[in-house]
């Protein structure tokens, strides 16, 4: 310990007692880095000298380890400055290896978040200054950890995971793609981009940004869609006459950039030069049925000119080459297939072959017939069961399998976790704190494109309440398709819990 010439104040003396002298600092270069292993514990204290000695030894070892101060070579330390207004730590010398997974750049400067800076201080990699004096780790805890940045519990979880090697970032709710975005499969989100790149390697399926594709693009408006459909049906692609006109109309279209398209190189679709396009009256437009066996029309007549845009002349269309290409032949079933179909149709009764149904002239009569039939069949049912308020859920002979039966008698419908989430209000008690990425991805980890996290961490403590269904639904919704793990902090001990979705089997074989 230091022999410093301090002021007479006894309190001040105790403050400086943990200061190392230059000779001690110098000697610290050759310190051991091993941690002694703890031995077996005893069961009962018996006041023996042996126990006392062993306890003393353990305690001495304990205090030696704890009292050891961090001594680093000045050249190995990265110098940084704490900025309280922004609650960030700005680096003033070049960052080390930690920059690969921690920190961010802004306005040309390198910054560390307070929890990252504190962790690096504890590791002995960074020396943070405030008003030209270095901060101790105690001061780091006092200044960096707060409700606005990261609480002590959250920092404990952060440190625990970082010491194990995980990459931990603060959670940003806007970075999670919503279900709608995932459905649209937007390439702009970096999350999906990584996944997409993997996908492309496996299959050759074309991506939606194929600009030469004349078929309707997914994001067309309804008017465009109907127009292109009409064009397609009236003039199947490949004919010379309509195609140039189609392209022509496209080119003459409004060339103003439509910014809602994600792919800017796709040609804008057929113009909607008028802001209010006329609505088609589909009841008067007949769409020709080319596929069914019953239609015998081999040619289509030319469409009503009022339906066509601009000054187009469309003649009649001969469909025979197309019908030849369409497979309108009867399906030739194998023996087994035919048998299977017979089995399926064994009890099939065509409702139109029922004489009484044919006698019905309208829906009302049909429903009346159904009701009469039902009442007649009910006469076979036991009255005491069926005529009261509470009736059985199913009848004998109504179900073919256990699953159907269980479905019919299940009064309590099973629900899945994402159900009803949109109606839930946000709660500030349960929030996701961190994104966690696995340690073995550190080599390829890119801060700009981290990809999908391994899990989302929610920090709570044993003193607080257990997450209820409301919290679970809301958190899993907020988290997207990334699992949520709960890190429960109990006085320094951290346990991890997660909830797994489970479906009860409904069919028995």
């Amino acid at each position: 310990m230091a022999d410093r010439d301090t002021s007479t104040d006894a309190h001040k003396h105790s403050v400086f007692e943990e200061l190392l002298s230059p000779s001690e600092l110098f000697e610290a270069r050759s310190r051991s880095h091993k941690i002694p292993v703890r031995g077996q514990k005893d069961f009962l204290p018996n006041g023996s000298e042996q126990q006392r000695a062993r306890l003393q030894q353990s305690l001495d070892e304990h205090w030696t380890l704890l009292a050891e101060e961090r001594v680093e070579r000045l050249g190995n330390l990265v110098k940084a400055v704490w900025i309280p207004d922004e609650r960030l730590v700005e680096l003033q010398s070049p960052a080390g290896k930690f920059w690969q997974t921690m920190g961010f750049s802004e306005r040309g400067k390198q910054y560390l978040r307070p929890e990252e800076a504190l962790y690096l201080m504890e590791c002995g990699n960074v020396q943070v200054f405030y008003r030209d004096l270095p901060l101790s780790i105690q001061e780091g805890y006092e200044r960096f950890l707060s409700h606005e940045t990261v609480t002590l519990h959250q920092y404990q979880v952060f440190g625990h995971l970082k010491r194990l090697g995980y990459v931990v970032n603060r959670f940003d709710p806007s970075s999670v793609p919503s279900t709608y975005e995932r459905q649209l499969n937007l390439p702009a989100s970096s999350w999906d981009k990584q996944r997409k790149q993997l996908k492309r390697k496996r299959s050759q399926s074309p991506v939606s940004s194929d600009k030469q594709n004349p078929s309707p693009v997914e994001k067309t408006t309804t008017e465009d869609q109907s127009e292109e459909l009409v064009n397609a049906s009236e003039s199947p692609a490949g004919q010379t006459a309509p195609d140039p006109s189609l392209e022509e109309s496209m080119q003459s279209a409004d060339a103003s950039d439509r910014t809602w398209w994600m792919e800017e190189d796709v040609q804008p679709p057929s113009a909607q030069s008028q802001s209010a396009a006329p609505r088609w009256d589909f009841s008067s437009i007949s769409f020709p049925d080319l596929g069914s066996r019953r239609s015998r029309s081999v040619s289509l007549e030319s469409p009503d000119p009022s339906l066509l845009p601009g000054a187009l002349e469309v003649g009649g269309c001969d469909l025979s080459p197309w019908l030849r290409r369409l497979n309108v032949k009867q399906e030739k079933l194998s023996q087994r297939d035919r048998e299977r179909q017979r089995e399926r149709d064994r009890y099939h009764r065509d409702i139109n072959s029922d004489r009484e149904v044919r006698h019905c002239r309208n829906w009302a009569e049909y429903l009346q017939l159904v009701e009469d039939r039902r009442r007649r069949s009910q006469k076979d049912k036991p009255v005491h069961l069926w005529e009261n308020e509470v009736t059985p859920l199913t009848q004998p002979g109504q179900c073919n399998s256990h699953r159907e039966l269980l479905d019919q008698i299940s009064i309590i419908k099973s629900s899945s976790l994402p159900e009803g989430v949109s109606s839930l209000s946000a709660s500030d008690q349960w929030t996701i704190s961190f994104d966690v990425y696995q340690p073995d991805t550190v080599a390829e980890f890119k801060k700009s494109q981290p990809g999908k996290p391994y899990t989302h961490m929610c920090v709570c403590s044993f003193d607080g309440p257990v997450p209820d269904l409301h919290a679970l639904k809301q958190l899993s919704y907020q988290s997207g398709d990334v699992p949520v793990t709960f890190a429960v902090v109990d006085h320094g001990d951290i346990s991890f819990y997660c909830f797994k979705d489970f479906k009860l089997p409904t069919d028995s074989y």
Binding site: M1, F16, L25, I35, L55, V71, I137
Partner: protein, 333 residues
């Protein structure tokens, strides 16, 4: 088939622990504060006002930073839990280092026995002159440390070269002469660059800025409110501590405290203490759960309830005794 559950409930005072004599009772006479913290002291100090243990609060969590404070509170039987990185090996979770996190009950006990006080966070030193003086002192300290380390490094290098020279002189080749020349030239040629200097990264507050630390002596400044639950737990904690047991947190065991007969470094816990207030109702399923848990980890479950003040005949300022019940599975044979 009817299954019988026989839970054997024992009433009575828990046997006094502490046969190893680690804890001296609170009525020891006051002693001078021992400034030399290197010697391991087993008796508890009755501290004078200016040597209280500093409890610094991070939010509502009490933390201890100085090793001397930790030693003193351990000698008072307060164990705590280490939650920071260990300086020697910061990137592992097996053994953690400073700070020491205290339970609310532990901090309250230390405060009650006037062993510790909450230290308020240091404010930024308003006086610019004082601050500049502090910066100057710090930089002067670095400068002198550098010079000393330079000299030490030079000496060290000389020693190494001399040793090699001695070894070579036993040999027959001429390399010994080359080394002697190097040794002689060392005083001029030796370079100890600034980045090679060793620097200390302080764990506890280093006191560079000379602003005095403020301490709070009023219980109204205690950052954690005392609700009924905390009071119950504190009563049980204090009572068990007075009986000589060591206690740590038992969240993972489903209880409130783990009770050790001696220092947790050397002994296993014997009991899981669950603190319930006298009039609290506990469903039977909870009792079954904790009994089952206790038997799985081979520890006895203690249900502890402080006796309410009205029940004690004596008019004490302190609450009455704590009633203990232990749970044990027993078989019907």
């Amino acid at each position: 088939m009817v299954t019988c559950l026989d839970v054997q409930v024992c009433f009575g005072k828990v046997m006094d622990g502490d046969p190893a004599g680690m804890n001296v009772s609170q009525q020891s006479s006051s002693m001078e504060v021992n400034e030399d913290m290197d010697t391991k002291s087993e008796s508890e100090h009755q501290p004078s006002k200016d040597a209280l243990i500093d409890i610094s609060f991070c939010g509502s969590t009490p933390l201890l930073w100085k090793v001397s404070d930790m030693k003193r509170c351990r000698s008072a039987g307060v164990i705590g839990a280490l939650v920071g990185s260990l300086a020697r090996q910061p990137r592992q979770n097996v053994r953690l280092g400073r700070p020491l996190e205290l339970l609310q009950e532990e901090a309250l006990l230390l405060e009650e026995t006037s062993t510790a006080a909450a230290s308020l966070q240091t404010q930024d030193c308003g006086d610019e002159e004082v601050h500049l003086e502090a910066v100057r002192q710090y930089e002067a300290g670095l400068e002198s440390s550098y010079k000393e380390q330079c000299a030490l490094a030079l000496e060290d290098k000389k020693t190494v070269l001399r040793r090699i020279m001695d070894e070579k002189e036993n040999g027959t080749d001429d390399s010994g002469n080359a080394i002697r020349d190097r040794l002689n030239a060392l005083d001029q040629a030796f370079r100890f660059p600034l980045p090679a200097m060793a620097v200390q990264l302080h764990t506890a507050r280093a006191g560079f800025s000379h602003c005095p630390e403020e301490r709070s002596f009023h219980s109204t400044d205690w950052p954690v409110p005392r609700d009924e639950r905390l009071n119950t737990r504190f009563c049980v904690y204090r009572d068990l501590r007075h009986k000589g047991f060591y206690l740590t947190s038992a969240g993972k065991f489903g209880g409130d405290f783990l009770v050790y007969p001696g220092d947790p470094l050397r002994f296993h816990a014997h009991f899981i203490a669950l603190c319930i207030s006298m009039d609290e109702e506990l469903p039977l399923s909870d009792i079954l759960a904790i009994a089952r848990l206790g038997s799985n980890v081979k520890k006895t479950v203690l249900l502890c309830s402080p006796r309410s003040r009205s029940e004690t005949e004596k008019d004490e300022s302190v609450e009455g005794d704590v009633v203990y019940s232990s749970l044990q599975w027993s078989s019907m044979v």
